[in-house]
């Protein structure tokens, strides 16, 4: 287990390193000179030169990369070009918001997904199972902006139950903004819901066919007891992994969902940074997203290997 963990950890580090190289080189060769962008087209050459020196743009590229990466690791993320604010504080504040939204999403899709998956497995090939499986298959690839827009149309504009915009007060508490988190939460939950349902269903179907479940029923144990002690314990193994992986995928969904609902999270910050060509902000947000993504993948692997020892020796 230790060897496996170390190997996966090494991979996470490698991912982070190559991703940082990628992000750095892609953003550094951005069309347009940063100094000209900040000072405007009519800046004097000496002013441009001064700013380049201040931003460290006059040094060789590999020095720039190393100092940039070191600064990122120690939390010195520089100042945003468009807002002048310190990037670290800005991003961390948004990260908290994204975390709250992701939490609401998880609270919606994990219990619902497991429940529907088990129901479908117990009604295998009956109409209820067919309906659940086909609907989830159909919705598996629906983009967040389509489901989100439909949800807004129905629940915000027609029924007026939930607000269409989730532009929240920065200091509001979780409970206060909860109504505004419902629609974006459902939006990011839907895609993952389909994955959890399909995974739970197929593993439950498999477990239900095993000898030990049959004998548990035959020796007269109560169905609820068999479900808890024999079926779920084994059937939920793969589901746990899917859930850990899905949390990584939530991040992609967050970018679009936050933009759709004007929710101040990391995803929307990234889009803001891109539209304003705010280099430090683009770099910091995308690095953070890569970091979260690879760390969640790492935990998904570890949990899987912990629950299913065969994986460790592959």
């Amino acid at each position: 287990m230790l060897r496996f963990t170390l190997r996966r950890l090494g991979f996470v580090l490698l991912t982070f390193l190559i991703a940082s190289l990628l992000i750095f080189s892609l953003t550094e060769i951005l069309p347009g000179d940063v100094a000209t962008m900040v000072l405007g087209r009519f800046a004097t050459p000496s002013a441009l030169q001064n700013l380049r020196a201040k931003l460290g743009l006059d040094r060789p590229v590999y020095i720039q990369y190393i100092s940039w990466l070191t600064n990122f690791i120690i939390g010195k993320w520089g100042d945003s070009i468009s807002t002048q604010a310190e990037v670290f504080g800005l991003v961390m504040h948004r990260l908290k918001n994204s975390g709250m939204l992701a939490l609401v999403g998880c609270l919606i899709y994990i219990p619902t997904g497991i429940f529907l998956g088990i129901v479908a497995a117990f009604r295998k090939n009956k109409w209820l199972d067919q309906t659940i499986s086909m609907t989830s298959l159909a919705f598996i690839g629906l983009p967040e902006f389509v489901t989100g827009v439909i949800l807004i149309a129905i629940f915000a504009i027609k029924l007026r139950i939930f607000p269409a915009s989730s532009a929240i007060d920065p200091d509001a508490r979780f409970i206060e903004i909860l109504p505004q988190l419902v629609l974006p939460g459902i939006t990011i939950a839907l895609t993952n819901l389909a994955y959890v349902i399909r995974m739970t269903r197929s593993s439950t179907v498999e477990v239900l066919q095993t000898e030990y479940v049959r004998s548990a029923y035959l020796k007269g144990l109560r169905p609820g007891y068999v479900l808890r002690k024999h079926v779920l314990r084994n059937a939920l193994l793969p589901t746990v992994t899917i859930i850990a992986i899905s949390i990584a995928y939530l991040i992609g969904g967050l970018i679009i969902t936050e933009s759709l609902f004007s929710y101040p999270g990391v995803g929307r910050l990234l889009l803001f940074a891109i539209s304003h060509r705010d280099l430090p902000l683009i770099q910091a947000t995308s690095m953070l997203i890569v970091l979260i993504f690879s760390v969640s993948n790492f935990f998904a692997d570890i949990i899987y290997a912990y629950l299913d020892p065969r994986i460790r020796y592959k």
Binding site: F11, L14, T15, I18, A19, L22, I23, L26, T27, I29, L30, P31, M134, L137, A138, F139, I140, G141, L142, P143, E144, F145, V146, V149, I150, I152, A153, I157, A248, Y249, I251, G252, I255, I256, S259, L260, L270, L271, I274, S275, R277, I282, S286, I289, V290, F293, S294, N297
Partner: protein, 300 residues
């Protein structure tokens, strides 16, 4: 066991082999048991047809503005109503389908061709370059695709070739990996071994022995990737980072329609409905293809 009975059983075996239904017959039989997949396939082909000939027969020019008839609800003159500039929504959706298929399709095709080539070479030769390439692809796959797309688009700019390139780059590693894993198992098979021993050229081995056996998987993989590509292209359009206005891109239309929903809901309902229908159809079709080629478990 004597000689004659051995001979007999051999003959029987040959007879059995000859009587076996062909691959296509088996596929067709399996396909017939997948009504949802057939439905999805038919809808998908309908969309494809629409993308090819639709723009030639649309009732209105997709850019033609008609301010007098702006924000008109659906009617016989405008099936899906008109937008804030009086443009015909029906025509815009049809013309937009061409963009989606063209960008998503050529991006996926590029990814499949390059990815399959890399996967084939990498898997066939192995060695250090294979190891390095696969680690690199592992890394690329552990970056959220939408993030990678955004950062790439910032660099190369939101243009049509740029979008195709992004789609291709994003899906190339996965195609290469799928191809490589198949090549790894195929190259040790007896028939490949036999071809090598009888001194066939490498190209012959690749194109006649290995690649035909990967077609089914690549078809499933490619069609799945294509539905992701539609998703991606439309999402980028929605974020305003894909195709630029006045293009009739579906994602862009949905984004523009958001502000008009309370007075002109058809602006939103029709593009959103169309894209949902296409993606659902593509998913059902892919799932069916998977059942046709891999009846047990449906795994690749």
């Amino acid at each position: 066991m004597n000689g004659s009975s051995d001979e007999k059983s051999k003959n029987e075996e040959i007879q059995n082999l000859q009587n076996q239904p062909g691959k296509l017959t088996i596929y067709w039989k399996r396909l017939k048991r997948q009504p949802f997949a057939i439905g999805g396939g038919v809808i998908f082909l309908f969309f494809l047809l629409m993308a090819i000939i639709g723009p030639l027969v649309v009732p209105y020019n997709y850019q033609a503005q008609d301010i007098a008839n702006r924000l008109k609800p659906p009617s016989p003159a405008h099936f899906y109503g008109t937008d804030q500039y009086g443009r015909d929504v029906f025509s815009r959706i049809i013309v937009g389908s061409r963009g989606i298929f063209l960008l998503g399709g050529s991006g996926t095709l590029l990814a499949v061709v390059i990815g399959a080539t890399l996967g084939l070479l990498s898997g066939y030769y192995g060695g250090l370059s294979d190891e390095v390439l696969m680690r690199l692809f592992d890394v690329l796959l552990s970056i959220p695709p939408i993030l990678l797309a955004l950062v790439l688009l910032v660099t190369i700019g939101p243009s049509k070739p740029g979008l195709i390139l992004v789609v291709a780059l994003l899906y190339l590693p996965i195609e290469a990996r799928v191809m490589r894993s198949m090549v790894l198992s195929l190259k040790t098979k007896e028939f490949v071994e036999a071809a090598r021993i009888r001194g066939e050229k490498k190209l012959y081995i690749w194109f006649r022995e290995i690649l035909p056996n990967t077609l089914g998987s690549m078809l499933v993989e490619g069609s799945m990737r294509f539905s992701y590509a539609i998703f991606l292209v439309a999402s980028l359009g929605f974020l305003g980072l894909g195709v630029q206005p006045p293009s009739p891109d579906w994602g862009l239309q949905i984004n523009e329609a958001r502000g008009w929903f309370s007075i002109a809901p058809w602006l939103l309902i029709f593009p959103a409905g169309t894209i949902s229908l296409l993606i659902i159809a593509a998913n059902l079709m892919t799932d069916g293809l998977r059942h046709v080629f891999y009846p047990i478990g449906g795994e690749i």
